[in-house]
Amino acid sequence: MAELSWVATAPLSHVLKPGHHGAETGGSGVAYTGLSDFALVQVMARRGKASALAKAAKAHFGVAAPLKPKAVAAGGSLLIWSGPDQFLALSPRDGLASPLASLAGPLAGAASLSDQSDARALIRIAGPRARDVLAKFCSLDLDASVFPVGTAAATSVDHTAVTLWRGEDTAGGAATFNLLVFTSFAESLWHMMLDAGAAYGIEVGEASYGV
């Protein structure tokens, strides 16, 4: 029998080239980090079960699931609002185990779950020019006064739905944004983002989520 090899391919693996991109002057205005090895589960409350789900989520994650466009940290997971009565649970991937397995029990009866771990690429955009870059393709007002740390949004980039949330600022005090984009669009959006940030100089990197 032929030897089978199951090497996972991250959505950006063909295009993500760590190092400096774009303008050379004055260092990097922005850093793009492709994050892989995450588990992502879409959690949707069943009809009339929003409060039951909230309770079950609280019991399981230790924090209340977000009822508004927020991203809340819950132990090793991040719960990201994705729509009315629904959220995404983002966590480091646990090998080949289905991420549904650990949630199915605790949320049984209150929620429907879909594995989206492979349906999205996760890109972190940070740096002093992060907002300027995002302004070129994101129509949201990301000013700190209206989009504080922990704010999340379901929005569109280049006519494609994305999930966006603001993480903790960098050590240097620069804003950090996280973008979940559809896997099939990932390369296309990545190229678009490289063009958008080139004027500021981009530091491209890759990392495992949560490490």
Binding site: S82, S139, T155
Partner: protein, 92 residues
Amino acid sequence: MRIACPYCGPRENGEFSYLGDATPVRPSLEQGVDAMLDYVFLRDNVAGEMQELWYHGGGCRAWLKVTRNTLTHEISAVEAARGAGAAKVGKR
């Protein structure tokens, strides 16, 4: 145009797609052909304030009932459209 999604906040209309008048209710099978013809094909086509269905497909995927003036494009209310088109007779 900007639509204030009750879930997401104000968003560009590019994130939404439009269906039309939110007032008609889908007739049940028992209501017959005339009611369905009316529902599918006839429109009040309001010149003025109109309730209409928009889908926030580029955001939270909620169907919304938007009150908008077709003469000025001014939006005075946005709410979830849940059940807006549900038949008023038959099984609920």
